[in-house]
Amino acid sequence: MNFSISLTVNGVRRDVALDDPRVTLLDLLRERLDLTGTKKGCDRGQCGACTVLVDGRRINSCLALAVSHDGAEILTIEGVARGDQLHPVQAAFIAHDGLQCGFCTPGQIMSAIGLIREGQAGDDPERVREGMSGNLCRCGAYAGITEAVLEAQNSLVATSQRRSA
């Protein structure tokens, strides 16, 4: 069977002919669209390295069938910066040493962007930690990650307040 799907990936429409329904969204991004920023860690929904935003919501792309997401809008780590200007979450991860080896970082950043959009954690560090618990970091950079998410949350809230003022 052949399945043609179209996705909007980082703002660009991509039409993909799938020859196999088994392709996950993660494998589609990495192997067919050459967007290798999204990482394959456990491939079983346990580590969060494959986190992307689908229609604005963070999900594990390893547990999503690509064919089931026909028409979706996908945001990956490659799509968050504006040219050379880093996304505030990316900048905060650098400022707070929210990483060591960096393998989990794209998933951490996409998850943090999703968390801030969800608007449930606010500036409560415990809620941030709970909200980020689906992203494992084997280097143990959690303290820096929490600080980075809190700073990014505050700077994004300040920006949106300036815009609405």
Partner: protein
Amino acid sequence: MKTFDYLRPATISDAVAAAAEPGAAYLAAGTNLLDLMKGGISRPDRLVDVTRLPGLDRIEPLPDGGVRIGAMVRNADLACDAGFAKSFPAVAEALLSGASAQLRNAATVGGNLLQRTRCGYFYDVASACNKREPGSGCDARGGENRLHAVLGWSEACIATHPSDFCVPLIALDAVVEIEGKSGRREVALEALHCLPGDTPARETVLEPGDLIVAVRLPGEARAFSAHARYLKVRERTSYAFAVVSAAAALRIEQGTIREARLALGGVAAKPWRARAAEQILLGAGADPAVFRRAAEAALADAKPSGDNQFKIELARRILVRTLTLAAAGTPKRIAALPASPFASASGALQHA
């Protein structure tokens, strides 16, 4: 992963017909099913994608004060629906204590009910498992089984049902709406899951093609909103299945318990309603001795299935704790760590 045919029908009746064929399985978010397929535990020949079926993604208030939750509603959307969380706070708390934020954004109401056990021997295709392969035996019986069932288990299977969501739902008399080959029917959630007996591969009363289309909570379930909690003991702070969990919902008038609902999770192959314990609470106050008597009644039939004697006393204590917190009143906002038994002041790090 074994290959499969993929169908995305446009109507519920087409979906039911397509899924009634041998070897077919429904696909919603796939957060459990794809994991099982990658591991070779589930090997469907045909996936029937229900994510685009019309009308399954709504949270509808009912005239009696209850709510009808479409089977495709995502866990996060239900938990964060302000009206729902206010009326059924223990259900929202249970949802937020499950999985991770990414999984809750994808996982559906119907899929949660039908998720499979997390027994390691069920997941390991090299192990004997009567649930995965009837008649092959149960390696969990003589294996690593400290987290296995203490109620309702059999020699054939000691697995537990992993859902958090289902625990307050059965306490609140949830009803499941099912579309099947012969039309629409309803089953009490308490009657949906089967105990293992000699046939642990039969996990629910669903027949081939049956599709869960909605879960309903009756209007009476709102009467508990002021005194409803869900607590969950985990082996790590977050993103873990329950060792033991409990839902307690009380209707209290002038300090006296007039109605009580209790259920346990992580103890059996189904979410476990503790009706005998509920009766003990009627007419009592928020009395620790009465709570303890109720907890003992709830676990009266419990017996270890392996190295899990500790779960029986843990379940009694978590019931007492849940009753104590429910009697004290539902918090205005769900705690930073939902369902954590280690409560502290808001904002403070509880597990730093």
